[in-house]
């Protein structure tokens, strides 16, 4: 068969799949999408459609979603849906090494969505950006937690090693006063490591500075944009508000999407804050 008719055949299967998907019959939809892929292996949309259906199953097949989205991205990099579904699947798969991957995918999906919002200010992108913002923050937190666990493990090992050296010296000394000197050092060492955030509870103070907080969601900002009066909000929040009412939330002056400007330095500052305090990404 000529390649073009194979493509047509794939499109016919895709349409059938879409109809089953709309009817919430995800199992049949998956079968049709699979047949479509057999006819046309280079159409990246077929893979994301199958991923969407797999995510909707009563018991979602995250493994399959991961494979399909990766294939889809290989064919087409600028692929919002594939990055979005991939990040969702990676979060659910809870693979010990994939936190960075899901964070990267979620961020890429968010970036593509922002691009889309800039082209069509109040289009589909505006309704997706909220979900994507939350997903990025969630992935950020999980990634940070993983790094934090590793850091604590390392630092905990160091603490144990140093304490063991001090204890060994203490056991070797002759007189009582020297022994108590070493005991003091062991105690001091423990308190120093506790201040560094290990040894039971997190000893560091958990406080989010006001400049990092979006006044609409009260979350830390990921992608702050500034209004005409210099106040910044999370992009997703202010877009959501402007859908309701084209007013500045603070002054009630007329405000539209076109008046918003990204606040790049604040974005960097928030990023830096979250790198140090990943727990704050999703509190």
């Amino acid at each position: 068969m000529a390649p073009s008719s194979r493509k047509d055949e794939a499109m016919a299967y895709k349409e059938k799949g879409n109809a089953r998907y709309a009817a919430k019959d995800y199992k049949s939809a998956i079968e049709f999408y699979s047949q479509a892929i057999r006819c046309d292996q280079l159409n990246y949309l077929l893979y994301t459609n199958r991923a969407a259906a797999n995510l909707k199953l009563d018991k979602p097949k995250y493994q399959q979603v991961e494979i399909d989205c990766s294939t889809s991205i290989e064919i087409e990099k600028k692929n919002l849906k594939a990055h979005y579904f991939l990040a969702m699947a990676l979060v659910e798969l809870k693979h010990p090494e994939w936190q960075e991957r899901s964070h990267t995918s979620a961020k890429e999906a968010h970036r593509l969505c922002v691009e889309e919002c800039q082209m069509v200010p109040m289009g589909k992108g505006a309704s997706n950006i909220q979900v994507l913002t939350e997903l990025v923050l969630k992935c950020k937190k999980e990634w940070w937690e993983k790094q934090e666990r590793e850091r604590l493990k390392k630092i905990g090992g160091l603490h144990a090693e140093l304490a063991a050296i001090l204890r060994a010296r203490k056991d070797n000394v002759k007189c009582e006063s020297e022994a108590s000197e070493y005991q003091t050092k062991i105690d001091e060492l423990a308190s120093v490591f506790e201040m560094a955030g290990i040894g039971g509870k997190d000893a560091r103070i958990k406080k989010v500075p006001d400049w990092a907080i979006d006044d609409i969601t009260f979350s830390v900002m990921l992608d702050p944009v500034m209004t005409k009066n210099g106040k910044s909000y999370e992009r997703a929040s202010i877009l959501n508000h402007l859908k309701n009412s084209e007013t500045d939330p603070l002054t009630r002056e007329h405000l539209t999407v076109r008046d918003l400007r990204p606040n790049l330095d604040l974005k960097k500052a928030c990023e830096e804050f979250l790198d140090q305090n990943g727990w704050a990404a999703d509190w």
Partner: protein
Amino acid sequence: MATTLATKRLSKELAKITDIMPDGLTLVSATDFTSWTIDLTVLDANPLYLNQTFRLKFLFSDKYPMEPPEVVFVSLHEPPRPIPMHPHIYSNGIICLDLLGQNGWSPVQNVQSICVSLQSMLTGNSKNERPEGDTAFVATNRQRPRDINFYYHDDKV
């Protein structure tokens, strides 16, 4: 329960007001993220509200904070919680304040800022009266407060 924007934001507000609440405000109950009650007293010595405590009831929809919460005064015998006398507060507790309407609302407002606005609305009042047409309104109104299109005739009060 799915964590919607509303529950996320309300849980953060709750954490903050459980920590510190401005003078004259006491959180009475906030068992879920649909309805909270808060007791309010007026801070200055306005003779109209001297030694009185009022109870506010907040109802949140899942569109909060994109849409305003429904806020009314509720009356109670024990402990005594009357409806404050004010030309913008009906005797059934419904409050006529532009901030609480669809057009006056802004998502940067929050439970605490609403309470503080109501406090100052009472502080600034010297008229011991109900809104015009109170009896008729209370007898006939079946609309929910947020659906009523108040005519904000006098912003000075």
